[in-house]
């Protein structure tokens, strides 16, 4: 310490530069350039945690109109930036110090990578002079995150800060979005350089050279769609990324094609739409997977045939031709062989396709819709949400009531486990970006911090956390962040006393050997109160709606501990690697009253 030039010495210039980042040529420190560049990129909030190697940046922060949210663990920072990005469509920004600060970001970076979320993570790094010497809190974070980021950068000079950061934003946003990490050495923050936001503009991003759809393929796809008897649209996250809502809807309505959604695709097509089937895959309703298995044409829109949606590939939709519309050429033929690949931004791809499709005149398709409708009937009767109140509280009840109480309009941020699947099954999302969940990585601990990010991105929206007792405890420290920021955030803990999804697998596949899945938790109401947050506990179904109503009318954070049935399972379930039709149905559980029992 002490050798470095202090950021303060430039404070006079900074004011002007910060207010007008687009005008050129002011001499600033690297730290100031960092914030000025973020400001120029339209960033008004970052999620972070300070430490030695990033202190020069923190020192300069007060000169810039950027809100800093102090997290309680850097994993929280990356999840918050992620939740912010998913809720708003903008690039989320997380910031941390070197070494442990940087490694703590990693889980959140991987989470964003697997779900293609645009994010920029900034880490401090030891001085360039001591790089590679195992200096205090030195860690090779660009090495560590190399396979977890779209790209990453090590910046060792103040001159590089602006151009590299600008490029990082461009990379994060472009094509298939994803996280980018910028590691900035302490001396790069302390050094000074000319700052010119405009001059730092990166070259236009090289589009992926294989991003090209032959017009012949478009015609061929249209031909397949016209002649299909049993088509199904598979709606994925790409619809949201590309904002291709209207185009997908037009395709479905014009050709009368039912729409099945991936977990991350929920909300991209309105759940209440008559053509919406619901979620496909491992915990999709029977009729959804049935429709896919019976289909003669799958039209995949911005989804990647993840193993959780296909089950066994050998038996997946055996009679269906596949049209794969995808922005990432590396996804084509990765898991499922495409008969026609339409590569490009989904909205553009669909806009090129739709003119080739005239509305169907024949009634062939309604036979298909009738067939699907018929297959729905038999299973819907036994649906737990239709059951009368028997005194038992099921998570499905909670989700169903939450959906009713919020009119299906809240942003729900879920954690990972059974409650996540119940939410996906029973909370009907009509709007895009209203379900935020970790799909690809399945990161427990995601919900609370991601919800904080979402609430900050959309302060006018009602935001609910839905977390399990296990996952909630992984990042529960962020309650403190929610309290400090006084966020109007509602938190539902679905407390079943178990790592429920693990218990379910043990029940089905490991002879009920409940090893390490029973879980003791603190009293979540008291935990909330310790944070100065109001909390209530709910044990009976009749208490669900009043508790939700109280939470909604309360200003500020609110925790509800839903004490639900301990050994309930998510049905139906397709065991990993099995065929979609080999599902486990809800058994006649004596605990569960069925409609017929009455």
């Amino acid at each position: 310490m002490g050798t470095a030039k202090k950021g303060h010495s430039h404070s006079t210039q900074t004011g002007g530069a910060a207010k007008a980042p687009a005008t050129g040529g002011t001499r600033l420190t690297g730290a100031e350039i960092l914030w000025a560049t973020l400001e120029g990129e339209g960033v008004d909030v970052v999620f972070g945690y300070p430490g030695g190697a990033i202190l020069p940046a923190y020192d300069a922060l007060r000169k810039f109109p950027i809100r800093h949210v102090l997290v309680r663990h850097e994993q929280g920072a990356s999840h918050m930036a992620d939740g912010y990005a998913r809720a708003s469509g903008k690039v989320g920004v997380a910031i941390a110090t070197s070494g442990p600060g940087a490694t703590n970001l990693v889980t959140g970076i991987a989470t964003a990578m697997l779900d293609s979320v645009p994010m920029v993570c900034i880490t401090g790094q030891v001085s360039s002079k001591v790089l590679g010497t195992d200096a205090f809190q030195e860690v090779d974070i660009t090495g560590i995150t190399l396979p977890l980021t779209k790209h990453n950068y090590l910046v060792t000079r103040a001159e590089e800060v602006a151009p590299v950061l600008r490029q990082a934003f461009m990379v994060a946003r472009s094509g298939r979005p994803g996280p980018v990490l910028v590691d900035i050495t302490k001396d790069a923050q302390q050094g000074s350089a000319e700052f010119n936001f405009v001059a730092a503009e990166p070259k236009p991003h090289r589009p992926h050279p294989m991003l090209k759809t032959e017009s012949a393929a478009t015609v061929q796809a249209a031909e397949l769609i016209r002649s299909a008897k049993k088509p199904v649209i598979l709606a994925g996250h790409g619809i949201i990324q590309s904002a291709a809502y209207a185009q997908v809807r037009t395709l479905a309505e014009r050709m009368k094609i039912p729409v099945a959604s991936t977990l991350l695709g929920l909300g991209a097509f309105p759940a209440s739409h008559p053509l919406s089937l619901g979620m496909m895959g491992m915990h999709g309703e029977a009729w959804v997977n049935h429709a896919i298995q019976q289909s003669d044409l799958l039209i995949a829109c911005g989804m990647r045939f993840d193993d959780r949606v296909t089950g066994s590939l050998a038996t997946y939709a055996p009679n269906a031709k596949k049209i794969h519309m995808e922005v990432d050429p590396a996804e084509i033929n990765k898991n499922v062989k495409a008969d026609v690949a339409l590569i490009g931004d989904l909205k553009e791809v669909l806009e090129a396709l739709l003119p080739h499709l005239a509305p169907r005149a024949d009634n062939g398709e309604s036979a298909w819709l009738r067939e699907i409708e018929a297959s729905k009937g038999e299973v819907a009767v036994r649906d737990i949400k239709n059951l009368p109140d028997s005194g038992h509280l099921y998570a499905a009840h909670v989700m169903h009531d939450l959906w009713r109480a919020t009119d299906g309009k809240a942003i729900v941020v879920t954690d990972v486990g059974q409650h996540q699947m119940w939410e996906a099954q029973y909370y009907k999302h009509d709007e895009p970006r209203t379900l935020i969940t970790s799909g690809g990585l399945g990161t427990m601990g995601f919900a609370l911090p991601a919800a904080i990010g979402a609430k900050i991105a959309c302060p006018e929206k009602e935001v609910w956390v839905v977390a399990g007792d296990g996952g909630f405890q992984m990042t529960a420290a962020e309650l403190s962040t929610a309290a400090q920021e006084d966020l109007d955030l509602k938190i539902a803990v679905v407390n079943n006393g178990y790592l429920g999804m693990v218990r379910q697998w043990q029940e089905f596949f490991y002879e009920k050997n409940y090893e390490a899945s029973p879980l003791r938790s603190p009293d979540f109401v008291k935990l909330a109160e310790a944070h100065g947050i109001r909390g209530v506990a709910v044990h009976k179904r009749s208490e669900v709606l009043p508790a939700v109503a109280e939470a909604r009318s309360h200003k500020g954070p609110f925790v509800i501990n839903f004490q639900v049935e301990k050994e309930d399972s998510v049905y139906p379930m397709i065991p990993a690697g099995s065929a979609l039709h080999e599902m486990i149905r809800r058994p006649n559980n004596p605990l569960v009253e069925t409609a017929q029992d009455k």
């Binding site: 090495g143 790209h151 090209k212």
Partner: protein, 202 residues
């Protein structure tokens, strides 16, 4: 099946790691990887040979393109090309036994580039099979091989090659499929050169 890719990449620290890391992630074994300067300043050229399923070529190329530092990828496949590898082979040989090795080297159009009292060094250039042929013959002859250093395969497509097209267009990585097709049809195979690398084996 062996796949060969030629990749033009930015000449920056860490780029090799990014490329290698991609193959590791895809769980694909790299058989050989050569890197050196290309005809353009700041651009390195890699020839990557890897062992992967016959259908993996598309995904590998598409994934390589997702790396920010990769400018151009060419999946050589069956396209007409020249492949070469260079090997240095040190063989135990005394002044009495040298002449035998000299003869062999000549048949393979290899050169002797170093002589020591107890060993000699052979430099050989050619397709892999030619190099392997020489090694095999040396072994069969009972010559003791002390060291082998091989560069791995380097590949260049015949006729107008990809990076020239790039240069002409002055936009890295923007080459279109049509350009490639046009090039392919314009290629003329050169049998004369093919004959040269035939050596003893065939």
């Amino acid at each position: 099946m062996l796949h060969t890719f030629v990749a033009l990449v930015e000449d920056k620290p860490g780029v090799l790691t990014r490329v290698a890391s991609l193959f590791r992630r895809l769980n694909i074994n790299i058989v050989s990887l050569t890197v050196g300067h290309s005809e353009r300043l700041g651009v390195s050229r890699m020839t990557i040979v890897c062992d992967a399923s016959p259908t993996a070529g598309h995904r590998i190329a598409a994934s390589l393109y997702k790396l920010e530092n990769v400018l151009q990828v060419d999946d050589i496949g069956q396209l007409s090309h020249v492949a070469r590898e260079l090997a240095l082979i040190k063989v135990a040989a005394t002044p009495q036994t040298r002449s035998q090795v000299f003869e062999l080297a000549e048949v393979f159009r290899a050169r002797i580039v170093d002589l020591a009292p107890e060993s000699l060094m052979i430099e050989i250039t050619g397709v892999e099979s030619k190099i392997e042929g020489l090694i095999q013959v040396l072994n069969e002859n009972g010559d003791r091989i002390l060291e082998i250093s091989r560069t791995g395969r380097m590949v260049m497509r015949r006729g107008q090659h990809t990076s020239k097209v790039l240069e002409a267009m002055r936009v890295p990585g923007m080459e279109t499929a049509e350009d490639l097709k046009a090039e392919e049809s314009a290629e003329a195979p050169s049998d004369e050169l093919m004959a040269e690398e035939t050596g003893l084996r065939e």
